[in-house]
Amino acid sequence: MSQITKEEIRQPENLVYKKTELLTDNPLSYCPGCGHGTAHRVVMEVIDEMGIQEQTIGIAPVGCSVLAYEFMNVDMQQAAHGRAPALATAVKRLMPEKFVFTYQGDGDLAAIGTAETIHACNRGENIVIIFINNGIYGMTGGQMAPTTLPGMKSSTSPYGRDVALMGNPLKITELIAQLPGTLYVTRQAVHTPAAVRRAKRAVRKAFENQKLNKGLSFVEIVSNCNSGWKMTPNQSNEWMVENMFPFYPLGDIKVND
């Protein structure tokens, strides 16, 4: 076999994968290894592949991903804390031909925004909700969130979450799957190549549902917060598999057609 040089491989016709144009060139503000970056890319790749960049309006939350509009090269709005589903409702009702999605963390969607989330889901607004669940308030310094696991350490539960004192974790995805307004509810992850591919299929299905005016799709992405959990990125991914997934099992929770 003749030797082939790297320059011969690195030709445009041999290109297999490159960063989508729908992510801007701004370096992501997330910690090294954070699943937010992968989740951003998954959403933007789906919008790129569907060719709906011009028609898409995203709603950024408050939290680590508050600056999502710096990285996502689509029209964006930024909502008050937890109010992204309410803002998305308004945007979608005023411009029903647009594709509207919210991108929210657990401190945003499952804590201060619980009411907006539940009511938007119950009304069955024709939007996509992307929910990043890392079980902690990452941006403010790793405080306990509603989604923090029992026994899990955070800066405000340094001996682990005591359920008797601090209450039970909130499985908001299972909760909203009960509501008649939701069409597609799923839980995914982005820690391995296979998981990223599955998550991308789920996000694609969610946007296809919106395209067909079918109703509300809710995609939870269980993610790591290695800074908040005080681990390296790969350790945090392993910890997530061992501890988060038994409590937050991956897979489709509700699929209506």
Binding site: I4, I9, Y17, K18, P27, C31, G33, H191, P233
Partner: protein, 74 residues
Amino acid sequence: MAKIKGDIVIDIEKCKGCSVCIPACPQDVIALSANVNSKGYHFAETVNDACTGCANCAIVCPDAVITVYRKKVE
């Protein structure tokens, strides 16, 4: 027999050295460099020529710094 050869290009200035790509690579092509970029991160680099262009590393990279090429060699 046709053989697949791949190669990756890493944007080392944007790489944060999180090393999520390292266990994702089935060929053990990637390792962290001893050098650092201008932000002070030990960036990822290729350490051998075993790459098959499967793109697993690029798919898990949170910062989307990896570009993947693949060529069939006769």
